[in-house]
Amino acid sequence: MFSVAAPPCRGCGMNSVMIISSAGVRAAGRGFIVLMACLTAGIATNLRAQTTATNLQPPTAQNEGPATYKKMSLQELMALDVTSVSKSAEPYADAPAAIQVITGDDIRRSGATLIPEALRLADNLEVAQLTSSSWDISARGFNSSVGDKLLVLIDGRSVYTPLFSGVIWNMQDYLLEDIDRIEVISGPGGTLWGANAVNGVINILSKNAKDTQGLYLEAGGGTQTQDFTGVRYGGQIASNVYYRVYGKYFDEGAEVFSDGKSADDPWNRAQGGFRVDADRSPQDQLTLQGDLYVGDTDTVPGGEGTQQAEGTTSGANMLGRWTHTFSDTSDLSLQVYYDYTHIAAPFQADAALDEPEGLLRDDLDTYDVDFQDRFELGERNRIIWGLGYRFTHDVVSNAPVVGFTPGTLDQNLFSGFAQDQIKLIDKVYLTLGSKLEHNDFTGFEYEPSGRLQWNMTDHQMVWAAISRAVRTPSRYDRDLEEPAPPAAPFLGSNSTFESETVLAYELGYRAQVSQKVSGSLSLFYNDYDHLRSLDYTPKTLVPFYFQNDLEGNTYGFEFSANYQVLDWWRLHGGYDLLKEDIHVRPGGVDLDDALNETADPQQQVFLRSSMDLPYRLELDISSRWVDRVHNSDGPTPGEVPAYADMDVRIGWRATSHLEFSIVGENLLHNYHAEAGFPGAAQEEIARAVYGKVSFLW
């Protein structure tokens, strides 16, 4: 009944889930990914979120100069960023890496209502919306639905799920008004951030409570984002102690199938939280923050014409951080957090397996402690080192068609890193370092890197880097079984799945060419080994299982530029090129013909225009062109056509307290596909318009 030639891994999502046969199971995989909201596990992390903070943001499009500043209140002045200019204030301001910074103001002006939408502002990312509530996001390739090569942190808390080492984007949200900036680094960040920072790192940083004082209200609605509302209040508890509390709720409408009919996948989500920042003394800063959320996500796991099912997600987290500053170049910090996530993802019945429908449930507790110290050693050396420990307790309750063995898994992750930035000669720095980790699956892993940086002038920098990074196995790689035990003849677990590795070579150039023009160019060549493949059992054929039989390389570059045409008009452009050659290693096997790990556009083009018009009007136009995406359904290749689309926002700051805006998203088409294997389950993204009122007091 099954032959190797028959499509094993049906592609659009969690490939194994789709092994068994066609549409039904494939959709189950999609449901898995879409709904698996969840967990946060992660990796030794980051306080580095704070220290590597690297501000390269161009000046905002607002009018600048003494005449403007002198009319501002102290609060407004305190919100202005000066690091883009005074680099001495921020030791990492010119980090030798491919980094882009999305500011809070960029997010506001983009009209984004969710974090994945805001990430479209980073030229060095691929963002593809799969359904109403799911996105595939990656850097430098490997953007499959189980994309697993990007590390994402929210205020130092890692948010990828150890189930498949990816991020379930519909579980990651915040009141966007209170986001200070998002730093997007493409290229390996393993030396500082650890496993999973294979192709990139995203740091989402919320504002200090001191910067969110007062009342903020927002509300609005439209065609896709049907209604949304957010509220925040910030106040002062005592001298030097500030807090804020916030809440947010939205209803997102369904997207459509390729024939234009509703995909019946609306979803909603509520989140609330707080943050307290205290300066106990000029040297000691304390932060305590937490969030709580719950979401309902409808899907049609079987694709068009099948039954709608409901998935749910919820979670809570609490984080505390203490930073002690000795001097401009020396500080230490200690961070502790706890994170809980729950997901219930519906899987439809599968006739071929004779398995009924049912929910896959996952409950994950993560405890993480992280220490970091930074100091200067002599005249020439700047050292950063740190230690981390993470404990995760994961409990899966299997669905009939898919399960994890063992159901309950406790894991320990120990990590340490050290890095030295050595001043070789004036303006030339060499940074050497490595992370050393120990995980329960593969034991010790090391992730060294060397970076050379030459600040040619005060406004030009060239850098080069060689880094090694690893993606340690997830439970998906090792523990997944289909159908769930005791049946499980198809996909079996594989306790020998090892870490995927990359050796990355990078070369970059950044320049503030003039007062009006800045740009960056980053070239990369990545050499991958031991990538995930799908193998079969000799003679019996099944169970299939994951193996590390793929290898290959990718190369390309990312270019971006800003041009402040006039005081009131700013242009931004970006272009990415990505070439991928991933193949089965000699003597190896992949039932997916090396097609299943990469679903990436070869080229992307971004153009944005931001204008400050008279009468306090703002006009922002953002357009993108994304090359066709080659994906697969098992060994069957598929294609999502290239597309261009455009978002427009018109904002009116009626008074300093009140703002109105109208946002149109994906205006060029009624609907268009961005991801997914062509077929009954593929969804397309519809044009959307919404209006918004925000009030700040």
Partner: protein
């Protein structure tokens, strides 16, 4: 697949031709932005602080801001105070190299060049009603009233209400709520 990516060569050409442009203005621009912002802070501080009547020689005497030592503002401070007033007093700028030259100012900004002389300068100013501001690290804790410090790329300030009180200055509570409150600490010798 051998096809050249469309527009690639144009993009590269554009990039490198941009680089050819003269970028020497950049540094000056960058620094001035920071000091333009700090100049606006100074103007704001003046609005939130009340000077005793004896701070001014005559009822219509101007409000004098002194810059002591190396002046990081250059033209930015002049542009900021131009046409502005403090409680309907005209603002006048004065630059000097010693505390004595600036003794009758209502506000003195100490440049970084004065780092080694903070103690001496504060002694020389005695208890006169002068708002002392600086970007020297820990200035407020060394007996000054306000200092700027960078945090996350933004300008923050520390404020020492005790030192202000000693000089007879009244600080509005709103200003206190925005700054980090510090006390005078004993200097280690």
């Amino acid at each position: 697949m051998k096809r050249q990516p469309a527009g690639l060569s144009i993009v590269i050409w554009c990039f490198f031709s941009l680089l050819a442009l003269d970028g020497m203005t950049c540094r000056a621009t960058g620094e001035s932005r920071e000091y333009q912002i700090k100049a606006a802070f100074l103007l704001n501080f003046a609005q939130f602080i009340q000077w005793p009547a004896n701070a001014f020689a005559t009822p219509d005497a101007p409000f004098v801001i002194g810059v002591l030592g190396d002046d990081p503002f250059r033209a930015a401070l002049d542009q900021t105070v131009e046409g502005e007033t403090v409680r309907s007093r005209k603002i006048v700028l004065r630059r000097g190299r010693t505390a004595d030259e600036l003794k009758d100012c209502q506000m003195i900004f100490l440049g970084k060049s004065e780092e080694a002389h903070v103690r001496e300068i504060l002694l020389r100013l005695g208890k006169s009603p002068v708002l002392t501001v600086s970007e020297i690290r820990g200035f407020a804790r060394r007996g000054g009233i306000i200092d700027f410090y960078p945090e996350g790329g933004k300008v923050r300030f520390e404020i020492n209400p005790g030192a202000a009180e000693e000089r007879g200055l009244k600080i509005n509570s709103q200003l206190l709520s925005l700054g980090r409150i510090v006390k005078t600490e004993k200097e280690e010798n």
